[in-house]
Amino acid sequence: MEMIKKGAEAEIYITEWKGRKIVIKRRIKKGYRIKELDEKIREQRTKKEALLMMSARKAGMSVPIIYDLHINNKEIFMQYIDGERIKDVIDGMEEEMQRKICEEIGKSIASLHKNGIIHGDITTSNMIWMNDRLYFIDFGLGMKSRENEDRGVDLHLLMEAFKAAHKNKNLFKWVFEAYKKNFEESKEVIKKVDEIARRGRYMRGVA
């Protein structure tokens, strides 16, 4: 198994499984938590992430297929999305392509929100472009909610991530426009985004 990433919470491996190339996301033990608490947290998050990905898929979104859950090891076995992270490729694209992808991002977030899913960590490093389709990954901080506040936090985070990682100001504008066009309740959400921005908190840039 080859480890391709180690984050604060999880390790990502690429491996063969039943003849396929897959990704295993494993939540790592934290020695600072007492065992009971640590087990419970990692188990809940593993289950929650898998569930959110499955319900996003049911709603017609492109997310990795969940093949298996190994709850004992706090592992999710999922489809390997063999493409490019949006974060790494979008700046170098032609404007027409950038616009297409940004509209896709806005539209996808609109469907997530419409279906009661909050991603929780929408940044361009959690989006992969493969075969002309946009895939969302990393639902570990997500939740089920239809609150405009939660939706607003989601969008605001994306806005900050774009600001921090991508120079072209049009990118986010296109995302926003597509979100508005594809979501009837977007007006209320955008209001929330402004309110959240005014609270002046520095959110995460690129996670």
């Binding site: 600072y32 608490l37 901080l141 520095y202 995460r204």
Partner: protein
């Protein structure tokens, strides 16, 4: 240069006298007194009265301890915010009076940032993520793009507040943290409580309610133990996320709740597991104190900052990222 710094944003009135020689932070005196309400939480007006009452005594004591003559003081610093209005105004008035009497310059200091600066000075860390945990404040702060920024914070009450409120309901006197820490040492059984982390933010009100419900059927030792473990692990987790995100390799503790040995241990293990360094100044510099205000005043002054009396209006909601950080 020698600075007299006055802290008085909430329940504590403190005076620190600090000398800066090069980068060296020499504490000449650090005296404080804490307002402890007989019952209930902090009442801002009463706390301000407490500060007025104790200020002369503390001033005298700090000068005496420092072994300097009051005329040797070069600068007055005071906590300009954030904090409780009446307390801030009392402190600012004391600062202005001293500045005018001694004919020395004055600077108003951001309270939250002074916790970070005194920690940096005393523990010799250079660019840490600060986990700042006190009664009213719970924040994860780090320096980025020329400013101190809040990466995570509590979405409702501060961790200290949570412990105090729990204490009040079960008959532990304010501040309840130290007693809860002692009781928790006897706890053996972990009882599940809501674990509430949202990205880099935390919230404590749900845990408070759940812990209070447990008092009817569980031992107080086990509840205190579970309450601490849950809250402190949440704090360590958001601190770790901020470290991963900012790619910083030092973690510093600040604020009164950071005196808790179990919290120190948890954060220390977190740091070790990610091969980062853990820093924690002595207790008297973790709680609200005048020395941290004096020291921050000194580095501000050295970077060319100074205020006219008109500019010393208090700032109840002074935000961390509003501070013009000229010294870094």
């Amino acid at each position: 240069m020698i600075c007299l710094g006055i802290e008085g944003t909430a329940h504590t009135i403190g005076i620190g006298i600090v000398e800066k020689e090069g980068d060296n932070c020499k504490i000449l005196a650090n005296v404080f007194h804490m307002y402890k309400p007989d019952k209930g939480g902090i009442h801002p007006r009463e706390s301000a009265n407490h500060h007025t009452k104790y200020f002369p005594k503390i001033l005298e004591e700090s000068i005496e301890k420092s072994n300097i003559h009051i005329k040797e003081i070069d600068l007055i610093a005071f906590s300009i915010g954030p904090g409780l209005g009446p307390c801030l105004r009392t402190t600012a008035t004391a600062g202005r009076t001293l500045s005018l009497l001694l004919k020395k310059p004055i600077v108003g200091v951001n309270h939250c940032i002074s916790h970070l600066e005194i920690g940096r000075a005393l523990t010799k860390c250079s660019d840490p993520v600060l986990l700042y945990v006190s009664g009213g404040n719970t924040q994860v702060i780090a320096f980025m793009d020329g400013k101190y920024r809040v990466f995570g914070e509590t979405l409702d009450i501060g961790i200290g507040n949570c412990l105090d409120k729990f204490g009040r309901e079960v008959g532990i006197k304010f501040p309840a943290g130290p007693e809860i820490e002692r009781i928790a040492l006897r706890g053996k059984k972990y009882i599940q409580l809501p674990y509430s982390v949202k990205g880099m933010d935390v919230s404590f009100s749900g845990i408070l309610t759940a812990s209070l419900l447990l008092t009817k059927k569980e031992d107080i030792e086990d509840i205190c133990y579970s309450l601490q473990e849950t809250c402190f692990c949440m704090l360590a987790e958001v601190a770790e996320r901020a470290m991963a995100h900012t790619e910083k390799e030092e973690i510093l503790l600040g604020g009164g709740v950071a005196c808790n040995k179990r919290l120190q241990e948890i954060v220390k293990i977190m740091a070790e597991e990610r091969k980062a360094k853990f820093f924690c100044p002595p207790d008297e510099f973790l709680v609200d104190n005048g020395a941290m205000i004096a020291w921050t005043g000194l580095i501000m002054k050295e970077s060319g900052m100074e205020m006219s009396i008109d500019e010393t209006k208090v700032r109840q909601n002074y935000r961390t990222d509003e501070v013009d950080v000229k010294w870094r």
